[in-house]
């Protein structure tokens, strides 16, 4: 039995307490959303995910999607759940009210996303992609397209896809072949075949809107010749309702390791009518608006699944009786102690817990910046927030999913053999989480993005948005005895990050392969320091709250304990990352290709 109850107390901590001094807060745009109102939204989301989505997670996984005559059917219960989801207004939490959205801050939206993914990540893909697509349409499409499509998408009666991948082109979109031919009426005819299209065909909405990357006839070769098109499954009739069937069809759905309830489709475009979104040959820019937003959301998927795994593992570790505590029996009244008494089980549980709280805290910071990037009044704050989001997007994507996957494996490990069988639902988390490290740009690509595009850009300006707050925090906190060795631990890790940053920047200038060789380790290193910063800051706030005699002392005490665990047992990995980076590419590239 899978269990999940949204960690509302920690979410409220991240939302209201942790980041208040980060310079991104106090946005006038959100002044109507009082903390009480936001808390109520979170509570309602927690209830919905627990009651409606969680029960369909295991059953949906067991049943999977099926395709019959080109129609794709989602597992039992998904349609009803989606209808309730839409009716509850969850589709459009953070969308622009101008198109029917609720205009909530991203800080709340990301927490709700986490809940949805924890309860049923496969379900999350159906509305999730729609959210990304609305971002691209809002940012780049003509007013005509916006008016015709955004209200329906925001309301959730229609859904959307991102059609990038083709058989011969995954990471390297320059190889893309799908073609778009201009028509006399200003539309385009699209021809080609796409694979791995999440929610490309399903039975949840009355129409599906595809955002398709394709080449115009005179387009330059490579990524500079790609344009973005919008092509619906049904062409809207004059009243705006789904009309004639468009020339896009689902040829097949993939048989996957996990996320079986999410339809991954092969789509054929045959003289499909579509419209250009944004400028000709600038499709990558438009797509990246969507992709960057999606990358953060995929990171949140990793975190959500990891939280579900944590809760499952904790429940089992308190319940399962095996052996006795090494320090002497803790429950002599029982035939054995619950396994949570064992240090190594503790290690696993604490690790998952620390990952989850660290990621949630960092994610909350990035979400605040996403809000400030859009809505801050001060252009300097806006620019600073944009820098921070640009820097942290690959970190959130890769770090959260790497750690999320590790967390789900630890969850299985806590269960022992019972984790490996299907009954408890723990192995599903492993299978579901695995894809998050791959799609929306593999985690290797995230590392490349970080060292190649983010680290050196504008002489390191993006880095400043992160390094300066950490540096200032360390300087201000170095005499804070209440935090014990935590500040010193963070300082050491930060020093390793500074050195590694200089090393990567310097070597990468002369030899791009050196940067490429450092990407993954560097991303982990900055991620560890970012989580460490969030933890030490959390611990400082918790210490202050305890000193003030706060009501929920247990929460704050647990926060300090978790922070201490992170600093003791996880943050030291920063040194190892630094050493690996320092070693450079040599041994990585030395082996002759034939020797593999």
């Amino acid at each position: 039995m899978q269990v999940y109850d949204a960690p509302l107390r920690d979410m409220r901590f991240v939302l209201h307490e942790l980041h208040q001094d980060d310079g991104f807060g106090g946005l006038a745009h959100f002044r109507d959303f009082t903390p009480d109102l936001l808390d109520a939204v979170l509570e309602e989301a927690a209830r919905f995910t627990r009651e409606v989505l969680l029960p369909l997670n295991a059953s949906g996984d067991a049943e999977g999607c099926r395709i019959e005559n080109g129609m794709v059917y989602t597992p039992r219960g998904f349609q009803q759940a989606y209808d309730r989801f839409r009716a509850g207004g969850w589709c459009a939490l953070a969308n622009d009210p101008a198109f029917g959205g609720q205009g909530l801050p991203e800080t709340v939206n990301k927490l709700v996303e986490e809940m949805i993914c924890a309860a049923n990540v496969a379900f999350s893909l159906y509305p999730g992609l729609t959210h990304g697509a609305t971002t691209a349409i809002e940012g780049h499409a003509s007013d005509e397209l916006k008016q015709a499509y955004l209200p329906k998408l925001v309301e959730g009666v229609w859904s959307a896809t991102m059609c990038l991948t083709e058989a011969q082109c995954g990471t390297d979109l320059g190889l893309l072949r799908t073609r778009a031919t201009p028509q006399a009426d200003g539309s385009y005819q699209i021809n080609g075949s796409k694979i791995f299209i999440s929610a490309g065909e399903h039975d949840l909405t009355e129409n599906i809107v595809h955002l398709v990357l394709a080449r115009l006839p005179d387009a330059p070769a490579g990524v500079k010749g790609i344009s973005l098109f919008l092509a619906p499954k049904y062409l809207p009739d004059p009243a705006g309702a789904p009309g004639a069937r468009n020339g896009v069809s689902c040829a097949n759905i993939e048989h996957k390791m996990g996320m079986t309830a999410a339809a991954t489709c092969q789509l054929n475009f045959d003289d499909t009518t579509g419209w250009l979104v944004g400028q000709p040959n600038k499709g990558m820019a438009a797509m990246f608006t969507m992709m960057n937003a999606e990358r953060v959301s995929v990171g949140v998927q990793g975190l959500g699944i990891a939280e579900a795994a944590y809760q499952g593992a904790v429940a089992y570790a308190k319940d399962r009786l095996q052996g006795r505590s090494l320090a002497g029996a803790k429950r002599p009244d029982l035939p054995a102690d619950p396994i949570i008494v064992h240090p190594d089980v503790r290690r696993m549980l604490m690790t998952i817990r620390a990952y989850n709280e660290g990621c949630r805290a960092l994610g909350g910071w990035v979400a605040r910046a996403m809000d400030a990037e859009k809505f801050a009044d001060d252009p300097e704050v806006k620019a600073h927030a944009a820098d921070f989001v640009a820097l942290m997007t690959p970190v959130v994507k890769a770090l959260f999913t790497d750690l999320g996957f590790e967390a789900t494996n630890l969850g299985v490990q806590v269960y022992g053999g019972h984790g490996y069988i299907r009954d408890h639902g723990m192995e599903q988390y492993v299978r579901d989480a695995r894809i998050t490290m791959i799609y929306e740009g593999t985690n290797g690509i995230q590392g490349l993005d970080l060292v190649g595009r983010k680290l050196g850009a504008h002489t390191g300006r993006y880095l400043r948005s992160f390094f300066h707050p950490v540096s200032a925090f360390l300087e201000a906190g170095q005499d804070d005895a209440r935090l014990g060795p935590m500040v010193a631990d963070l300082k050491k890790a930060f020093g390793a990050l500074q050195l590694a940053t200089g090393t990567v920047a310097q070597r990468g200038l002369g030899d791009p392969e050196e940067a490429g060789a450092a990407g993954t380790d560097y991303l982990r290193l900055i991620g560890l320091v970012a989580m460490g910063y969030c933890f030490v800051k959390s611990a400082r706030i918790a210490t202050e709250r305890l000193a003030q005699g706060a009501d929920d002392a247990a929460f704050y005490k647990a926060k300090i304990d978790t922070a201490a665990f992170f600093c003791d047992r996880i943050l030291p990995q920063a040194s190892a990352c630094f050493l690996a980076i320092k070693a450079g590419k040599r041994s990585m590239m030395a082996l002759d290709e034939a020797a593999f």
């Binding site: 002489t459 390191g460 300006r461 880095l463 400043r464 390094f467 300066h468 500074q498 200089g502 920047a505």
Partner: protein, 772 residues
Amino acid sequence: MADAPIRKVCVIGAGVMGAGIAAQVANAGVPALLLDVVRDPDHRNAVAEGAVAKMLKTEPAPFMSEQAARLVEVGNIEDHLDRAADCDWIIEAVSERLDVKRSLYARLDVMRRPGVAISSNTSTIPLHQLIEGRSDAFAADFLITHFFNPPRHMRLLEVVVGPKTRADIAAKVEAFADRMLGKTVVRAKDSPGFIANRIGTYWLQLGINAALDLGLTVEEADAIAGRPMGVPKTGIFGLIDLVGLDLMPHIQASLQSTLPPTDAFHQTVRKIPLIERMIAGGYTGRKGKGGFYRLDSSRQREAIDLVSGDYRPLIPAAGPSGPAAKGDIAALIRSPDRAGQYAWAVLGPVLAYAAALVPEAADDIVAIDDAMKLGYNWAYGPFELIDKIGAAPLVARLEQQGLAVAPLLMLAGQRSFYRVEDGRRQYLGLDGGYHDVVRPDGVLRLEDVKRATQPLLKTGSAALWDIGDGVVCLEFTGKMNALDGEVMALIGKAIPLIQQSYKALVLYNDGPNFSAGANLGLALFAINIAAWSEIGKLVAEGQAAYKALKYAPFPVVGAPSGMALGGACEILLHADAIQAHAESYIGLVECGVGLIPGWGGCGETIDRWVKSGRLPKGPMPAAAKVFEIVSTATVSRSAAHARELMILRDGDAITMNRDRLLLDAKAKALSLVDGYQPPQAPQFHLPGDSGHTALAMAADSFHKRGLATDYDLVVAGALAQVLTGGAADLVDPVSEADMLALERDAFAARVRDPRTIARIEHMLETGKPLRN
């Protein structure tokens, strides 16, 4: 007579060229007499006077200093031609009309002293036509000296001698032009347009034609025929704007009338209605209402549409892509896109043309390459460009298109026009053999040393070379010759080596700029990652390295040319002497990016002013003077101006010819070797708190008048703190070490200020200071 030195020069014709030449003579410290016609009977010298007055307001300034301006004496050719007879060289720079020139020569022929050199600055008229009808004696003293505009800054001087010109007269003029006027003399034959303008005019015409034929915008054309070819970014159309559209038809007509009918030039000449309309409408370029480019009423840049003839907002062109964008010229002309087509359409014919001009216009290829590099600021001469493409592939493509192939190109065959043999650069001669490229006496280029030897020491950003006679040269090698920890490391290693095995050190490099100072990019990156201790370390290391140079037991001579800013100025301030190229732009510019000089510049500058004897006694005047100069980030406009700023002291010297700088600096260093004693460490008597208050008040008044921003005031305050000795008590002298500590503290505080960071970032991203 021919042995007598040139003590005074007469320039006749006070147009832009004549006046500029007179100014450059004066810049060399030699009196100049500038004559022109009488236009106003009441103000008979008005034309020449007006020319001098105009030059005092011109940017870039023709005069290097105010003293130089006072060396120009004005007059008119009706009343004062006799004074020309007192001069040792008469330069004619009147309008390009043969009759005008001939009648002037006739008058000069009567009153001149035999043996006085007479030269014409003509750009188009052949020498044999100029001296027609003149006596043999006149012809013996006559030559053409063709300067380029502006005469102060363009280093090329084309010299043409006739069959009767006396060798010693030519040699005297050439030596003066070289050593005093700083020119590189290139001997040209008496053929139309000489070298640079003949090739340059052909090139510009090709550039216009090809842009029209291929349908390129002016921006696109200039983005191809500019930087990617090693040509200034003005490219084709920007350059025509600079020289003036109206000048083009003149030069063209002249070349058309004088070049043989077989010359390829004739095929390029076209009537271009747009250009004719532009000239007629006063759109003659930068000096007129605008040219191919202009600024609109709100100072936004616009360009002309070559088809419609209308101005429209500038559309920045991307230029070539791939290796072609990075200076691979072979790849550029090979590329099948429009950039490649345009590049070939311009470069192919012009290289073929240049190859046909030896020996018609010049004796060897070196003269042709020098002329284009120094007269048109090309990074590579035509033959150096051919070597990048390969003579054989060039010939193949020319033949394929039915274009004429000069014998010289065939002679080269599979060989290159230049090669390096035993560390010596050699060029391909008309005899088919290679010959050494010989530098004139007294010219030493570091590149020659580097070709022939290995560095004594080397780090990532600097190298140490043995330049002979016990003197070593420290060269900066980083991007823009920027200074960083690697430079300081080299200084640290160099000092014991020199002490042990050499006599003296020269700080010099061949680049157009000595150094723009500390590596700001590196600093900004360190700032961005909050590496405060690293930044502090770099400041301290720089201070230590510079002081070690100052107190080293051997003489150190700084030899700047071009920019020497910030940290580069500071290293010069620590040298025993400076031998500066006349075109040296030196200054402590740190305040401009929100910093203060941190490598000892504050103390060294105060010490210079205290010891200058130019200021009243007491602790305040020097601090105030330095504050005035440094807080405004003043940069010298020339080496002469640097002397006024006390960057150059008595005993420091100026070299007019860039090519002679290294050898002059070496000689200066050797002159200091005997009995060399390192300087004594100064003790500073500084005004302390009260002085600080006074300087702050001065800055405040600037601020109140809107001349300084809020943050300028903060930076000036930090500078004042250092210059007045911090909390120094008037009675206690401040040591050099104290001054360095004050610099470090002030620097560390400023570098963390977001407003300083914004300034540095803006400077790096835009190249311009941010006034925040």
